[in-house]
Symmetry: C2
Subunit: 431 residues, 2 copies
Amino acid sequence: MYDRLKGFRDFYPEEMSARREVTDTVETTAARYGFREIGTPHLERTQMYVDKSGEEIVEELYAFEDKGGRDISLTPELTPTVARMVVAKQQALSKPIKWVSTRPFWRYEQVQQGRFREFYQTNADIFGSTEPEADAEILAFAAEALTDLGLTADDFEFRVSHRDILGGLLRSFDADVDVRDAIRAVDKSEKVEREEYLGLLSDAGLSYDQAAEFADLLDRGDLDEIADFGGDDVASAVENLQNVLAAAEDFGAGDYCEVSLTTARGLDYYTGVVFECFDSTGEVSRATFGGGRYDDLIESFGGQPTPAVGVALGDATLQLLCQRAGVWPEEALSTDYYVLTVGDTRDVASRIARDLRASGNVVETDVAGRSFGAQMSYADSINAESVVIVGERDLENGEVTIKDMESGDQTTAPVDDFPGESDAPTYEDYE
Amino acid sequence: MYDRLKGFRDFYPEEMSARREVTDTVETTAARYGFREIGTPHLERTQMYVDKSGEEIVEELYAFEDKGGRDISLTPELTPTVARMVVAKQQALSKPIKWVSTRPFWRYEQVQQGRFREFYQTNADIFGSTEPEADAEILAFAAEALTDLGLTADDFEFRVSHRDILGGLLRSFDADVDVRDAIRAVDKSEKVEREEYLGLLSDAGLSYDQAAEFADLLDRGDLDEIADFGGDDVASAVENLQNVLAAAEDFGAGDYCEVSLTTARGLDYYTGVVFECFDSTGEVSRATFGGGRYDDLIESFGGQPTPAVGVALGDATLQLLCQRAGVWPEEALSTDYYVLTVGDTRDVASRIARDLRASGNVVETDVAGRSFGAQMSYADSINAESVVIVGERDLENGEVTIKDMESGDQTTAPVDDFPGESDAPTYEDYE
């Protein structure tokens, strides 16, 4: 007997039906916003991640050499791949480009609740607009996907921040700051003690007093104070953040957004607005997913300068959020009809099954040569709403029996008129 | 600039919309037959393939060692994974088990037309029935998936064969035959010259005369003659094949099936009926996909003996078949509404876009701060059916303009009554 790899998951039909319902909801929301589905390779050259995604991801890569001597990796995230695809057809694509996809990714991480080595993400991105409406549309799509799943403003909030506010503030100190390291420190600030956080900021080049002042500024989160403190660049980033929030308000996402400058996002390539969705259902508020603006990535891939903003919803944390809020779909099979054969009635039973399927019904019939009782028990196990019994004796009278599985009521119907005109005949129709 | 790996594909939105339509059709057909979707890992232990899938697949594996020292492989096919999943929950699963999934697989192969290193398959399998109805349901599902795509009996045929007929015939010769090698030779028989084919059979242990007699028997394909020649085991396999074809006839797939004993399927684990779908649209008839029975695999994975039969439809050959038959969906975007803003009208335009989306429409609006002309040109590029123009001056009169993009006709509508009661208001509604 073989075992499954650690951090990988098998999804059996009941659980899968709930997952499918959630994915379909998110993808339908994206489609209504005009995000267009793309299909992307699951392997890319390792160098793409070494160059672009920052140390953290590279350490977690499933990387190896293929039989042709290429250094390749299982994709740990989508953004570098879509950047490559935008560059490859830059001239032909009309902008703004709005793309969406749902697929697996892989990172060799410590497995824990809500974190697996194989996970699924729905990524939605907009390329070709620096305008605040693009950031706001990403926020609005993400909020609407969640509300379409049944979540409310009581269940989640988007904590919105801005990389240029953080970077501008850091640069405004009289110190030789490694902005990248300092932003990583901010990203960790909610997960570590204050002293450790200040230590990380000091490691990045701030003095202890500067680190404390910076941390306090972010904690207070007073945008006017921050604009005054940081100078023109920071003031302009503050204005951009405010414009994004105003557009998000117009787009219907206002109720879900709040400014939180201690939100930073771990990945190096973010440039402007960044945000994280926080789960407010539990005692411990935690990040469910996030996104943001990455205006420099396409150019760094050799393309024309192309602004970009996007979001990635991960399956595992989204499932936890939905489950805690009580909106995770029921994990159960559903079946419209089971067509039960008794004796040598396969030809008639098959005709009925085919007619019912032609109207779009989910229909099973016997493929295992089983007894009446075994078939009835199987019909029950797949939650069949109705069972159509096609028996030799009934057929001699030109009849079949239709049984409502919830009530147990049954009646006969003329076989020549079954399923008849109705797309979904029930016990009641023939009672 | 980074390049895509050889044998891997990027799918941009137009092509992806056609692919999605095809996948949805196949999955919907499977759902109507009561196949239940599962989700499966994309990596497994390499040993599973070394033990089970035969040399050909192992040579093509994307295999490597993970950071934990495990020998792992990208999944080259689904069957070993579903066998593992059946074994893991054998007691809890009610039988027959009917599973379906669509996902990528990887093999390091020579890239050619219809063959890529990353490819997609829809796999459908039934576990727990030795009855011919199970084989027939797989044939019927596959045939109906193709006819639901618009294909007809002129476009494809299923060539149906039986491993126990081939194996029984081979064992009936007075020779020390390696049945596995001989069946591989049969699998190659259509692709190589007759002399090479007979040579491969001789390598497998038949004398040259026996090889010629065996090849002639298969070519003639007279089931009565073969049953007489091969003895009881072969006669019983012939009966099973005939029973499967009779059930397939009842299930509506009779028109698509014909006996073809030179069809063998390459994989080692097949046991009973095997079949291949042949594309009859072109001058060169070729295999599009195939399937068959594999009754021993679950037991060899450490499970209870569990019969199984399945089919796998690959994306690339299916696309070629559909394209040659002229039923490949149009590769184009579709959009219901573009809501165009002129001046400072974002709040009203957003409200209209949200109302239209709430009725299920695909709606885009400006996220890039662009001019009237640029927005109209973008609306055209996404094939918007209608454009709703929300202009400052119109709004002063309490109006918006709705433009039919095909005819170019436009008229005004009262903004307070737009979109009004209709889920999909058109130019005609306000004319």
